[in-house]
């Protein structure tokens, strides 16, 4: 911790401490955690809320009880068949909401009484049951054993040969990939903007002159990016960890080697993406001297990232193997957002991952050089907004 690096670490430590101790970070993280919890609870309720139905049978339709119970699982319905003494009692129960439907009359063509509209799944179950009853009657009348037909049908059917076996975890992988992309986008936008705000704050309060009489601009810039990047990483870990814990508890996600490699790639890509975007944000922030002007220089960047994110997110959900998302995930500014998602989905060949990684590192190096130059040239200029041309001009190095 000597020489040129000590100031960088001191600056990073200050940025980290002043943000993590700040109320905004704690409250912000808690709010996101609560939202995440609520979201998970809602998803869990929907997922675990199996369809259940209570159906009353009466008169000759009692014969439907067996076929109804056998048909229900194929529609994903948990069905309880409740025999009713007569139609009037059954109808009263439907009206009271104790029964979802009352089936009465001729088994092949029963009268189904419902409160208002029959549930679609339930209707299909009843149709299945009546079809079975009608078919069995038809077959028995012609001396054929329905069970023999069922046995013959059970033997039939195609044998599917998958050249690429489908991934049983595909849905989960997609969820993980999308969550990763979203968290990366959120972190990069939030903490990138924080870097810009920090730069402007130092300019506005003029403290930057004292700091720059002690350290070089690149040290200040690097320290800032490292410090805020660490805050962003901490939040990413807290949120990601909470998300994984919730998912794990809900049984949506099973830990495995795929999970670990996904997490590692999310963190690596976050670091790379953050270095890239934070530098751009810092350079943009150094062009203005007042907080009010910050938005005007940040908007072009945030809108570009947002557009890329929305387009890429849609492509990822609709066609994760398509050419479009492949190209986007190879373009350096968007690689950090989508490459980890494609890796999680298992649709990114190693060659593409390496290419994207190399391209992003090269791009980041260029951005660091240019951004550092803009920053060094502009950070001491107060007053009017500094033009990009001036900022890129001959600096003090």
């Amino acid at each position: 911790m000597t020489g040129a690096l000590r100031p960088v670490l001191l600056i990073a430590r200050r940025e980290f401490a002043s943000r993590v101790r700040g109320r905004a970070f704690v409250v912000g993280t808690l709010v996101v955690l609560v939202l995440l919890g609520v979201y998970a609870a809602v998803i869990a309720t929907i997922a675990s809320g199996d369809d259940t139905a209570r159906v009353g049978v009466t008169g000759p339709a009692v014969a439907l009880a067996g076929p109804l119970e056998r048909a229900a699982p194929t529609e994903g319905l948990t069905l309880t068949v409740v025999p009713q003494p007569d139609v009037a009692t059954g109808e009263a129960a439907v009206r009271a909401g104790d029964l979802d439907a009352l089936v009465g009359g001729e088994p092949a063509r029963p009268r189904v009484v419902v409160a208002s509209e029959p549930d679609a799944d339930l209707e299909r179950v009843i149709v299945d049951a009546t079809t079975t009853v009608a078919r069995d009657g038809f077959l028995v009348a012609r001396g054929v054993d329905p069970a023999a037909l069922d046995a013959a049908l059970a033997e039939s059917g195609p044998v599917v040969v998958s050249l690429e076996p489908p991934d049983p975890q595909a849905g989960r992988r997609l969820g993980l990939g999308l969550a990763g992309a979203f968290l990366l986008f959120f972190s990069i936008q939030t903490y990138g903007a924080m870097v810009a705000q920090g730069v402007v704050e130092e300019k506005a309060s003029r403290v930057v002159e004292i700091v720059l009489s002690s350290v070089r601009p690149w040290q200040l810039l690097l320290g800032k990016v490292l410090g805020l990047g660490a805050v962003g990483l901490l939040q990413l870990v807290v949120l990601g960890g909470a998300g994984l814990a919730v998912a794990g508890a809900a049984g949506v996600l099973a830990p495995g080697p795929g999970l670990v490699s996904t997490l590692v790639s999310v963190v690596v890509w976050y670091l790379l993406g953050f270095a890239l975007y934070a530098t751009v944000f810092a350079a943009a922030g150094s062009l203005v001297s007042r907080q009010e002007d910050t938005q005007s220089v940040l908007s072009p960047i945030t809108i570009t990232v947002l557009l890329g994110f929305v387009v890429g997110f849609n492509l990822l959900t609709s066609d994760p193997r398509g050419t479009a998302i492949t190209v986007i995930s190879l373009l350096p500014p968007f690689s950090p957002l989508f490459m980890p998602a494609r890796i999680a989905l298992g649709v990114a060949p190693v060659g593409q991952v390496v290419l994207a990684f190399v391209l992003t590192i090269a791009f980041t190096a260029v951005v660091l050089a240019l951004g550092g130059r803009i920053y060094a040239n502009s950070v001491l200029r107060t007053g009017a907004r500094v033009s990009l041309r001036e900022a890129l001009g001959r600096g003090r190095g």
Partner: protein, 304 residues
């Protein structure tokens, strides 16, 4: 020894500094005076490496300044600035560590300077909660907390209350007596005159006069004040060695060609000849007058 050697700097078409040269010796308090825009702040910023010079060099003890030796300079920028939401103590420790002090040294120095500057009670407070006067004291502490070997202070007295001015003067003398080269700029010329061992007067990006205040006085025109109540107007005209006369300071102020016995004696004789003489004394110009003269000598140029 801090040497500013032939520094030039342009901002676009404006010449900010044009061969600025001066030296601040160890144990010397150097006053840097000049109009707004004359180049004082630019000189100091270049000395601290905050700006790059187009030409020239700044040396500390004979060696060109680099990032490491710059950290030995305590700096107070003209544009005051601290982290508004950082506590006084934490902030001072941070700034000291940025200049290469260890955590323990930084803590000790921050405690000592806050104590000395009357801020001990406010160490845990955010800077933005302090009064402006106290923020100025924190700013001074920020310049001193890294135990600098050199002090470069841009307008350190502006915005200070009289008590703080005394504390500041005391601190500057103390650092000077400890052997540090100390340079500060100010518009308060009486203060500069009282405090400084040497003064540099800057105009349009270059030094136009430099020296101890006494030297500058000797170098300026010789004036005597004569109060001879019965003397008629124009009594001194034609006395050998008298260049100009004007009425001021409750008598006649004569500007003399030299301070020789012959000239002074001739003037005194001429005054006695008009009747009683109540006062006859050599007039010492104030620094403000020297400054005005130095600037007026270049009256044909437009002051920057």
């Amino acid at each position: 020894m801090l040497e500013i050697d032939g520094i030039s700097k342009r901002f676009g078409s404006t010449v900010a500094l044009d061969g600025m040269t001066f030296t601040v010796r160890p144990g010397e308090l150097y006053g840097f005076v000049g109009a707004n825009g004359a180049g004082k702040t630019t000189t100091m910023r270049i000395a601290l490496g905050v700006l790059a010079a187009d030409a020239g060099e700044v040396r500390l003890e004979g060696r060109a300044l680099d990032a490491a030796s710059r950290r030995r300079i305590g700096y107070m920028p003209e544009e005051r600035g601290l982290y508004p939401r950082m506590a006084v103590g934490t902030q001072l420790r941070y700034l000291a560590e940025l200049r290469g002090r260890s955590a323990a040294q930084a803590r000790e120095a921050a405690d000592r300077w806050t104590e000395r500057l009357g801020l001990a009670e406010r160490r845990a407070d955010e800077v933005q909660r302090l009064s402006l006067g106290n923020q100025q004291r924190v700013q001074l502490a920020a310049a001193l907390v890294a135990e600098p070997d050199v002090l470069v202070l841009d307008e350190p007295f502006s915005g200070l209350d009289p008590v703080a001015v005394d504390v500041m003067s005391e601190v500057l003398r103390e650092r000077r007596d400890a052997g540090a080269p100390v340079v500060f700029s100010s518009h308060q010329l009486e203060l500069v005159e009282r405090l400084c061992d040497r003064v540099g007067i800057v105009r349009a990006g270059r030094l136009v006069a430099e020296g101890a205040v006494a030297q500058l006085r000797d170098a300026s025109a010789v004036e005597v004040v004569v109060d001879a109540p019965h003397a008629p107007p124009g009594w001194a005209d034609g006395v050998p060695g008298v260049a100009r006369t004007r009425d001021a300071d409750g008598g006649t102020v004569l500007t003399l060609a030299d301070a020789s016995e012959a000239t002074l004696g001739g003037v005194l004789d001429a005054a006695r000849a008009t009747g009683p003489v109540h006062e006859f004394r050599r007039r010492r110009p104030t620094l403000a007058e020297i400054y005005r003269d130095a600037v007026a000598d270049h009256g044909s140029e437009v002051a920057a």
